[in-house]
């Protein structure tokens, strides 16, 4: 049996290939509905080519050899001889499944940068604004600013505007001229120009303002402070205020590498500082019979995830992989590299925060406390600082803050965050919280 973890674009693409074979496939997804973060879906919310999702969904829901289990959260996994066991939480109890092959498509979540007031109600990630809208039909506030960097800001802002939200602006930290540094990626991906055109038309239709070279560096719940920023995100000092009740700020993505990490799949640090898995040309991880596809092998968007998911499934099924598919992945990876070049996240944000700004939202650890752990307690890495200050020890287990904490500590120590530390803070032994009672009761076999 083959298990696919995740039902976003990569997982669905893998499932679609598997559905067309005769193999027994199980898809485990933590969300109540398939589609992942990008294709979370309500019929009345449209986006660029969002109709593609339904083709994939039909193939897994209607297929005889595919079992799709939603609301299944894998919390731990182990490898045995020729078998992989996945322990997951489903409908209040723990279940377990043992498979021969595993395709991991665990996706990514928004990367956030702290700024003064980012803890307040109304400050959220673009993913949150989008999830509220697409998943639940709710607009997060009355006056919305979408801020950060990268092309993902466009579908969020446009989606909100289409749903009737008052989107005051798209605040993009970088200049679009940075794209001129990646001509080959652009030439090989003309379809991306069409996508951009689609959004530009919508931006004009809804008269959305786009501010380039700017960022929201402060928020008080009813007003955002907008600053011109340098390419490393350092504030140029020139600020304006905009009245708004929602700031949806996102700075790229953090891949979710927890489960593959538990299973011992080799990881590396991508050029943008994210921790990703090392995979070969067929999406095989360093561990036998484990394939990884999508954002967890490098942030690249839904199209790349679809190609990788298909390649992974074909490889797992010992099917041939068409050259055209490999070329598609090649050109989309080039595009992904161009994205990293065009929308880098420098450390200038460290100048936006105030001593009292909470860096760890869960345990409410401020910037000054983290700095003190370095100056007064000799902390040299995030692990040590974490044990002193509790930053990263709360409910989210550092998923939101640990990267920022590491950058702050490295900055205080005048050095760079090592790859070893990045891999260390990206991994945790328990992939999802489990109640002690459920853990104590043991596996409830299906």
């Amino acid at each position: 049996m083959i298990a696919i973890i995740g039902a976003g674009p990569a997982g669905l693409a893998a499932a679609k290939v598997a559905a067309e074979s005769n193999s027994e496939v199980i898809v485990l997804d933590s969300a109540p509905r398939p589609g992942g973060q990008y294709w979370r879906h309500r019929d009345y919310v449209q986006g660029y080519k969002s109709h593609r999702a339904s083709g994939y969904l039909d193939s897994i829901i209607g297929s005889k050899n595919v079992t799709y289990i939603h609301g299944a959260q894998v919390w731990s996994a182990t490898r045995g001889k020729g078998a992989i066991t996945l322990n997951y939480l489903h409908e209040g109890s723990e279940k377990s499944i043992t498979v021969e092959k595993l395709i991991l498509t665990t996706g990514a979540y928004d990367r956030s940068l702290p700024f003064a007031g980012w803890e307040l109600p109304g400050s959220m990630t673009p993913g949150a604004a989008q999830a509220l809208l697409k998943g639940h039909g709710v607009i997060g506030g009355k006056k919305i600013l979408v801020s950060g960097t990268g092309p993902f800001l466009l579908p969020v802002a446009v989606g909100l505007a289409e749903a009737g939200a008052d989107v005051l602006g798209i605040i993009e930290a970088h200049s679009p001229l940075r794209w001129l540094r990646s001509p080959i990626a652009l030439i090989l991906n003309p379809q991306k120009a069409l996508e951009l055109l689609y959004y530009l038309r919508k931006i004009r239709k809804y008269s959305l303002k786009v501010y380039f070279g700017s960022a929201v560096i402060g928020f008080n719940g009813s007003k955002a402070i907008l600053s011109k920023v340098k390419s490393n995100l350092e504030s140029k000092g020139k600020v304006t205020e905009i009245e708004c009740d929602v700031v949806a700020a996102g700075w790229g993505f953090n891949p979710d590498v927890t489960l593959g990490g538990i299973l011992g799949c080799n990881q590396k640090v991508d050029r943008d500082g994210t921790v990703i898995f090392s995979v070969d040309s067929e999406q095989r991880s360093s561990q036998q019979n484990i394939w990884i596809a999508g954002e967890a092998t490098g942030i690249g968007g839904a199209d790349l995830a679809l190609a990788e998911g298909e390649i992974a499934a074909r490889s797992a099924l010992n099917d041939s992989i068409p050259l055209s598919l490999k070329f598609k992945r090649f050109r989309l990876r080039l595009f992904a590299t161009a994205l990293q070049r065009s929308y880098p996240v420098g450390n200038g944000w460290q100048g936006w925060i105030k001593p009292e700004t909470k860096i760890c939202r869960c345990e409410e650890v401020s910037h000054s406390e983290i700095c003190q752990s370095v100056t007064e307690l000799s902390a040299q890495d995030s692990r040590t600082s974490k044990l002193f200050t509790r930053a990263g020890m709360g409910l989210c287990q550092g998923r939101v803050c640990s990267r920022n904490v590491s950058e702050i500590i490295a900055g205080e120590n005048g050095c760079k965050v090592t790859d070893q530390e990045r891999i260390s803070y990206s991994n945790r032994p328990i992939a999802a919280p489990i109640s002690l009672g459920v853990l104590a009761d043991g596996i409830n076999s299906q």
Partner: protein
């Protein structure tokens, strides 16, 4: 290789709690101390512990004498350093689930040897721990049991050493020793060569490897333990609560897995659950079946914990000595090389007492107890 100009009087290897306390004690005796660590402050076993300062889990004997003195020294050190390290005499509650005769016998001999051990009846027990399983009716309360935040303590103590003229060299791995005429004269490390006539090996679980670099034999081996950490919860647990099996497991030499229940709350609201013991070398892999066993034992003691979520688990390696006594004293072959290691799971509690013993021995002073039972010489000729 650089040579530090201001030569220290003593070098302490290891910036864990044992090293930190040794350095402070020597500093207060007038020596200039340099602490070196291959990582940073408390990056080994100290950073993986719960901060136990216990007298309740010890049978009468030299370790109990050391533990009692050490516990008082913790409170004195708090004054000296001027920080709380979250030190708190929270008290321990030991419960017996079935047969309580062993626990009662232990409490009796402990009481005769300076431990405050109050046998409590069922009503008193449930007043101490209202969420304890209603069927558990027998226990002993140990008001002297205390807890601190060990990393914070190590860091604050080392800051004090530095403020009093000492130094800390992090990311410095010991490569070998300079030995002349059977006496240590310095240490070679990845950050340079340091000279001192006194070197203290406080490398905890890794003390055996350090001793081997000097050609000496110190039988310290890792004994792995897992700790479960829950989400922040309301205060369900008021003391350090453990099962009477714990005492037997601590004292056991069995290499196989043993688990006993130890449950306690922390200031941040999380609940810590232990304790497993197994001798599997430095195997850092997660064992989910051990986590499950620990969870089962915890919810059987405190049913209210069933709805509390497990957030993370971590493991540490206790420095295990074959006879469960720490190794404190001069090396049996090399003069000037002193060891303070092998405290197993009691290193936090025993650190200040061990530091006082080693300082007194180095200076040839009388100490609060005879250090002979802890002498590394007892293992002379024994291979690891």
């Amino acid at each position: 290789m650089s040579h530090i100009g201001n030569n220290p009087d003593a070098i302490v290897i290891g910036a864990g709690i044992v090293g930190a306390c040794s350095a402070l004690s020597l500093t207060n005796a007038g020596l200039k101390v340099m602490i070196i660590d291959r990582g940073t402050v408390a990056s080994g076993t100290t950073g993986a512990g719960e901060g136990n300062i216990l007298v309740s889990d010890k049978d009468p004997g030299p370790e109990l004498t050391l533990a009692l003195r050490s516990r008082d020294l913790w409170f004195e050190m708090q004054e000296d350093v001027g920080d709380t390290f979250e030190l708190e005499a929270k008290g321990g509650v030991v419960v017996a689930r079935n047969d309580d005769s062993k626990l009662m016998a232990l409490a009796k001999v402990q009481s005769a040897n300076g431990v405050t051990a109050q046998v409590v009846n069922s009503k008193e027990l449930h007043q101490l721990e209202p969420y304890l399983h209603p069927e558990i009716s027998s226990g002993v309360f140990y008001p002297q049991d205390a807890q601190c935040q060990p990393m914070l303590a190590a860091a604050k103590i080392i800051q004090t050493v530095i403020a009093r003229g000492g130094s800390l060299v992090s990311q410095s791995k010991v490569l070998g020793f300079d030995i002349k005429d059977g006496a240590v004269i310095g240490v070679n490390t990845t950050t340079g060569k340091y000279s001192a006539p006194i070197v203290i090996n406080a490398a905890g679980t890794w003390a055996g490897e350090i001793a081997a670099l000097a050609g000496s034999n110190l039988p310290v081996a890792p004994r792995r333990g897992f700790i479960l950490v829950t989400e922040p919860a309301p205060q369900y647990i008021f003391h350090k609560v453990y099962d009477s099996d714990y005492v037997a497991n601590v004292a056991s030499s069995d290499a196989d897995l043993q688990t006993s229940t130890v449950v306690e709350g922390t200031r941040s609201g999380t609940i810590l659950i232990g304790a497993s013991r197994e001798r599997v070398g430095f195997d850092g892999s997660m064992n989910y079946e051990i986590l499950r066993r620990l969870a089962q034992q915890a919810v059987s003691l405190f049913p209210v914990l069933r709805d509390v979520q497990l957030l993370r688990a971590y493991r540490g390696f206790r420095p295990y000595a074959p006879d469960h006594l720490p190794l404190i004293g001069e090396d049996y072959a090399i003069r000037g090389l002193w060891h303070s290691a092998g405290h197993e799971g009691a290193g936090i509690g025993l650190a200040p007492g061990s530091a006082a013993l080693i300082t007194d021995s180095i200076l040839g002073r009388n100490s609060f107890m005879d250090a002979t039972p802890f002498s590394p010489k007892r293992f002379a000729g024994v291979s690891v």
